[in-house]
Assembly symmetry: C2
Homo-oligomer: 270 residues x 2
């Protein structure tokens, strides 16, 4: 329970408050990364992590909308899909993904939402030297983050997105929605087939907890493949370690988050 060495924002009755909802919450890194950016800009705002169970997300967000000095909410695992229904208005990409990770109060009191996961993921890949254009990408996990990443990859002109999820119903819904928007470039499977894949992405929460199983085996991937994880903490997940041990390229979660920080600040006009 010791305070970290870097201090955070001064907080007063005039501070703009933003909540960050997730479950679990201990691993979230956005507040620690956003607060120094806000301090450098001289902006009086704070991001407050809140651990909320899935069954409580709707009533908690509805209550937070009544907090006058709370101007927005960031949403992380596992609430990104549920949060879409809590906004009055979402972007086209968020609607396609079926998930949002940021909601803000508009001047008229309504709430708008967008998702920055996919854009952040693709920009992180490109910046590291792995432009996915024309490649075949397997996205494991068709939840909030996975669906947003799939949309951004398709917008970045990948040849094919192969969606994998153990929940056949959720998988089918997302596959149908994306196939309609990106015909002939989306496939789906409940088991990962990885032999012809250029990039394999873990978009499940597996790896957050130390005793989690691997989200997919790295043994079936071709030697040139990139294995990407969106988990931020631990920085090196068991999946990335396994990929590294097999000689594959391991791409961690950090670049995706770093590329989202500016998007968050712009979205919240901070």
């Amino acid at each position: 329970m010791t305070a970290a060495s870097t201090p955070g924002p001064a907080i007063s009755g005039t501070t703009r408050v933003y909540a960050l909802l997730g479950d679990p919450i201990a691993q979230v890194r956005a507040p620690g990364l956003l607060h120094p950016l806000l301090a450098r800009r001289g902006i009086d705002a704070v991001f407050v992590p809140m651990q909320v169970a899935a069954s409580d997300v709707a009533p908690v967000v509805r209550a937070l909308r009544q907090v006058v000095n709370l101007h927005g909410v960031l949403v992380t695992v596992p609430h990104k899909a549920a949060a879409l229904a809590l906004a009055d208005r979402v972007t086209a990409r968020a609607g396609l993904a079926g998930s949002v990770n940021a909601l803000r109060r508009e001047p008229d009191g309504t709430w708008s939402a967008d998702t920055f996961d996919g854009d952040g993921f693709v920009r992180g890949l490109v910046e590291t030297g792995y432009d996915p254009r024309g490649l075949r990408v397997c996205v494991v996990g068709a939840g909030g983050a996975g669906s947003a990443i799939a949309v951004a990859l398709l917008d970045a002109e990948v040849a094919e997105v192969r969606l994998v999820d153990t929940d056949a119903g959720r998988l089918d819904t997302l596959c149908q929605r994306l196939s309609a928007a990106y015909p002939g470039r989306v496939t789906a499977a409940t088991e990962p087939h990885l032999a012809d894949v250029d990039i394999a992405v873990n978009a499940t929460p597996l790896g957050l907890r130390p005793d989690d199983p691997l989200p997919f085996p790295v043994t079936g991937l071709p030697a040139h493949a990139v294995v990407a994880d969106i988990i931020m903490k631990p920085a090196e997940t068991a999946l990335l370690r396994a990929a590294d041990e097999r000689g594959l390229t391991a791409h961690p979660g950090e670049p995706m988050l770093n590329h989202q920080l500016d998007s968050y600040l712009a979205f919240f006009a901070l």
Copy 2:
């Protein structure tokens, strides 16, 4: 919207979160006073001001109780009476006052509440040299803070507490409850009669806003009287200025808050 110069707590996913509910909220000073104390103790916790209208307090507190890493709530004007009903258990003094200003989550998941306004007010008076023992004190405002202050004054053995409020129903309820507990020492009136009063206390929110009228006229008070205000911001209210101009002793809100800070930290086990 510029950040204050003194930094606040580092905030991460492991930070203990406390909310501070009021309406308005811009004037609250507890976060800025508590955060340096927490930093000195090396405690990873944050107090987050939240402006919530009276009609929204119950649903917002109910929702905040579902936030797993939110361990307690401070309550200020005008929610102190409403907050009593939102706890599972209150102290005897809070029950007598009919108001609470701090609620905490217990290990079993229930919520306990207490009020520190009265104790803080009396300790602030005594420390400044105005021991109220044996004196006649008029408390204007029979809301959450006023009722807590009345209870603490009676516990501090004042000769009489004269309660004043324009709401005759609220006044009568409090007077009956306190008279039963402190027989013969509590009176009530809808208009302040101040000619024989040693200490007159403003426990209304009047003075928070620049165009508020005075909560009571200082002209009727005896020359030795102390005029106390519980408003923290502005530090010098129009009431205190008027008292000072008449040559009376003006006692500001700050000592009451300062004496509550340690009580808050002890209550929350911080």
